[in-house]
């Protein structure tokens, strides 16, 4: 499970995330919405221990990210929006590298890498250098990389950015599958369709603050709008351009 407790992140005078509290239970998918610059990436990075919260904290499977960041990382898969891959490693080498960084060695490592290559349909380009992969192929390799240690919590920052419908669907399938395996999944997105399709609960960030939370249906009805997109616009109105 994932939990934010009164987490605030400041960059100098700028408050990117303010007093954020939310939780994601095992087997639950939580979508974080918010216009550009709302603080989604900052919040997720704090959870992934890439940034240190200015105050408050977050927990991964009960582990405080401030107290034991390394242990928190072992229980968390983080997929960054940048999809950074080492261009001169092959897909297989890349996944194996992260496996090693997670402490896997020898036969278990090989087995895990082959399993992921299979699972994400990487086999046709597994030995191609990552620098030569298409965006969709890179995304699959990124997912395999993030999941190499099969952690209980998944954090995905805009996982469908730049993907076509087919590749996007592969991500949806993946999220649905992981949900049934009891994972706690937190992802950020700008696409309302995938929120409606996947999310059990939604949180809306505006200028770093959580302004609404609930099931998609609840958000629509509480704002009195006809669909989620309108509800979202209603909630964040005028927040753009910070």
């Amino acid at each position: 499970m994932i939990r934010f407790r009164a987490l605030t992140k400041q960059y100098g005078p700028l408050e990117a995330v303010r007093d954020l509290t939310l939780g994601v239970a095992p087997g639950e998918v939580y979508a974080l919405l918010g216009p550009n610059g709302a603080g989604k990436t900052s919040a997720l990075r704090c959870l992934a221990t890439l940034l240190t919260p200015t105050s408050g904290t977050a927990f991964v499977n009960g582990i405080d990210v401030r107290e034991d960041p390394l242990d928190a990382r072992r229980r968390l898969a983080f997929l960054a929006a940048s999809m950074g891959l080492y261009e001169r490693l092959s897909a297989r080498e890349l996944v194996a590298y992260f496996g090693r960084l997670h402490g896997l060695r020898g036969a278990p490592l090989d087995a895990r890498v082959s399993e992921l290559v299979e699972l994400f349909g990487i086999a046709p380009f597994a030995d191609r250098l990552c620098g030569r992969l298409s965006t969709g192929q890179r995304q699959r390799v990124s997912l395999a990389r993030a999941l190499v240690h099969d952690p209980p919590a998944l954090v995905l920052d805009e996982p469908t950015l730049g993907l076509d419908v087919v590749s996007g669907q592969a991500i949806y399938d993946f999220i649905a599958r992981e949900r049934t395996r009891g994972k706690a999944i937190l992802f950020s997105t700008h696409r309302m369709t995938e929120v409606e399709l996947l999310a059990d609960r939604v949180g809306v960030l505006r200028l770093g603050e959580l302004v609404a939370e609930g099931t998609p249906g609840e958000l629509v009805s509480s704002t009195g709008q006809e669909n989620l997109a309108r509800a979202f616009l209603h909630l964040v109105g005028g927040a753009e351009g910070r």
């Binding site: 080492y86 080498e93 402490g103």
Partner: protein, 681 residues
């Protein structure tokens, strides 16, 4: 296997797949010395051939005895020519370089007067004079011996004391001394280059590509990541240095090239010396790796890192260059200086004078610096501000050549994209080296046509290829705009004013700098035309060709790539590089005038935004020299750098120069872009 080793193994694997690093790590270090030697050999042969080919014409007047004529004829450097009429006139007309005028024969115990006529201001005449004097001396000695013999006295009778010179330096010491000054610098530079790009790639490159964010989600302490990366960079630096050292030893010690023996460039390093050098190279590589990594990690892109590291690189080169200068010795203080100590130690090892204390001192201090640099690097890696400061929004800018190369995709020329400063300077430096090496070859084979070929093939074409292949915007990089009439007129007035002033400057220089007479004579022969056809050829060779080929390099690529500098620095840099490009061993005297001309032309091109203006100015300058040198009367005045320029020219020149400056200061001289571009926000 601990985490840092996992990181290191992966980084090494990735680095070895990078062509650029391989080039710096293997190709450059290995080929450096053979290439250097080939250049040295060519220069040496070039010089030797020129001297051999030269047989000075001398004349003997006043009824010379046959044995003297035979002696002079036997001298391979001299050739006896008959002259008629005025002896002085013959020397002035260069029909004889030196003339011995013998007085009347003096009988058995008299003295026969001999006067040697020559021109002390001509290097060739002076050389012929010295040679002829030596032959006359031999003749005198032979006659003396004959006289003594006829009186029954030994030859030693007239030589109560014999003085001979003997230098205590063995030939290998001389070679070791010369090489010992330059090789340490090369070793340091290669070690530095070996770790330069990997450091950037492993730190800033990781950030730029967004992989740092994923790397840091792995449950590995930042320390292991730093250590892993740092070990990679250091290993590459050490390998580059070791390959370099190996290539150096092979090249100089196996006598693979005959030249080493001929010119006494023998370095024999004992095994302990090699090991001592290698042992010092390791902490040096560690030091470089840590400093570079620590700085590069603060940059958010490859280009930014390159810009941040270039000053460091320069700062490191200065102490490494100290041993090159004669007369600077490694005191304990200098050996404690970072890098300088290592360079001095290498020098002393190569000249066979290194002491154990110095070695330990240098090793110890270098290790200490390496440790300090390592602490610095790991702190940089532990800092969130440095790791994510501005880094999040970093994207691959299509601005640099290296980025393109790395990305390995075809990038279309983008509006306004010009080469970076480092790229432009590197390109010009490489071009200069190839022009120098290739130019000599071409000239040896083809003579004057070789010079023409060198300019077009080794300057013009590479510059064009650089701009096209690099995907740069040709208009912005090369200032390819049609000049405005006022701009062009102002520039021409300016250059006409600048030429006499530069002439004066050259003349003033002769009070402080030695004049390479011989060189100038050769030059004079080259630029002096005696027929209309020859004049046309010379104008093509010496005016049109350099105006086009050199302008595209210096006022094109170089100026285009340095425009981000403050204007005065950009212009000075342009002049200095242009002057340095024209610098060779003998022509130090050309540096300042050429640099000034380069700066003036660069200013005009910058003001008018048009390369054509530079071409026109260059053409006028060189063309004027060719025409004046071919005009009898003016030529005499012009070809002697020690003769003062006509002083009445100076005020006129100042007025013209000032007028040119005033015209070019007007805003209206700036040329328009050929295609109107959307204004930048």
């Amino acid at each position: 296997m601990s985490a840092w080793r996992v990181v290191c193994a992966k980084e090494l694997r990735e680095t070895l797949r990078d062509r650029r690093t391989l080039l710096m790590m293997i190709v450059v270090p290995v080929l450096l010395y053979p290439a250097l030697l080939i250049v040295a050999e060519q220069l040496f042969l070039f010089g030797a051939r020129r001297l051999e080919a030269e047989e000075a014409a001398v004349a003997l007047l006043g009824d010379p005895p046959p044995d003297l004529v035979a002696r002079v004829e036997a001298d391979s450097a001299l050739r006896v020519v008959p002259i008629d009429g005025d002896a002085e006139g013959a020397i002035r007309a260069d029909s004889a370089r030196a003339i011995a005028v013998l007085g009347a024969p003096a009988g058995d115990d008299g003295t026969r007067a001999v006067t040697l006529l020559y021109d002390a201001t001509s290097d060739r005449s002076s050389r012929a004079h010295a040679e002829l004097r030596a032959v006359l001396g031999e003749w005198r000695d032979a006659l003396l011996e004959e006289r003594l013999g006829s009186r029954g006295l030994p030859g030693s009778f007239a030589v109560p004391v014999a003085v001979a010179d003997s230098s205590i330096a063995r030939p290998d010491e001389v070679g070791g001394y010369a090489l010992g000054r330059i090789l340490p610098l090369l070793l340091v530079v290669v070690t530095l280059l070996g770790s330069f790009y990997p450091a950037i790639d492993l730190a800033a490159g990781e950030k730029e590509r967004g992989t740092l964010e994923t790397l840091l989600t792995a449950p590995v302490p930042a320390r292991d990541i730093v250590v892993g990366k740092f070990v990679t960079v250091a290993v590459i630096g050490v390998v580059a240095a070791a390959l370099n050292l190996g290539s150096m030893i092979l090249t100089f010690q196996t006598g693979a090239l005959q030249l080493t023996a001929v010119i006494g460039l023998e370095v024999s390093l004992s095994l302990p010396a090699v090991l001592a050098i290698f042992a010092t190279l390791v902490p040096l590589a560690v030091f470089f790796g840590a400093i570079f990594l620590g700085i590069a990690v603060g940059a958010s892109s490859f280009k930014e890192a390159q810009n941040a590291l270039t000053p460091v690189y320069m700062a490191v080169l200065v102490p490494a260059m100290l041993p090159v200068f004669p007369g600077i010795d490694a005191g304990p203080l200098l050996s404690l200086l970072p890098v300088a100590g290592v360079a001095f130690f290498f020098r002393d090892v190569m000249t066979g004078q290194a002491g154990v204390e110095l070695g330990l001192l240098v090793l110890g201090s270098t290790l200490a610096y390496a440790a300090a640099a390592l602490v610095f690097a790991s702190r940089a890696f532990g800092s969130e501000r440095i790791l994510f400061g501005g880094g999040e929004k970093a994207e691959v800018e299509p601005g640099g050549w290296i980025e393109r190369w790395r990305v390995g995709r075809q990038v279309r020329a983008r509006d306004g994209v010009v080469p970076s400063r480092g790229t432009a300077l590197l390109f010009v430096a490489l071009l200069a080296v190839f022009f120098f090496m290739g130019g000599i070859q071409l000239q040896l084979r083809l003579g004057e046509a070789g010079l023409l070929a060198a300019e077009w093939l080794l300057l013009f074409l590479p510059a064009l290829a650089f701009v096209t292949a690099g995907g740069f915007d040709p208009v912005h990089t090369l200032s390819l705009r049609r000049p405005r009439a006022t701009g062009l007129a102002g520039a021409l007035v300016l250059i006409v004013g600048a030429m006499p002033l530069v002439w004066v400057l050259g003349w003033l220089q002769t009070f402080v700098l030695p004049v390479p007479w011989e060189m100038l004579e050769g030059l004079e022969e080259l630029v002096t035309a005696d027929s209309a056809g020859r004049l046309a050829w010379l104008l093509l060779l010496l005016a049109v060709t350099p105006a086009v080929c050199e302008e595209i390099v210096f006022r094109g690529v170089l100026l285009g790539g340095t425009r981000e500098l403050p204007p005065w620095r950009m212009l000075l840099l342009n002049g200095v590089v242009f002057g340095a490009f024209h610098l060779s061993f003998e022509t130090a005297i050309r540096f300042l005038p050429t640099a000034v001309l380069g700066t003036v032309i660069a200013w005009a091109v910058w003001r008018t935004g048009s390369l054509l203006v530079g071409v026109a100015m260059h053409l006028v300058n060189n063309g004027t020299i060719v025409v004046l040198a071919s005009t009898p009367g003016v030529r005499e005045l012009f070809s002697d750098p020690e003769a003062p320029p006509p002083l009445w020219l100076v005020p006129i020149a100042v007025v013209l120069f000032a007028a040119g400056v005033r015209i070019l200061l007007r805003p209206a001289v700036r040329a328009d872009d050929p295609h109107p571009r959307t204004p930048e926000p």
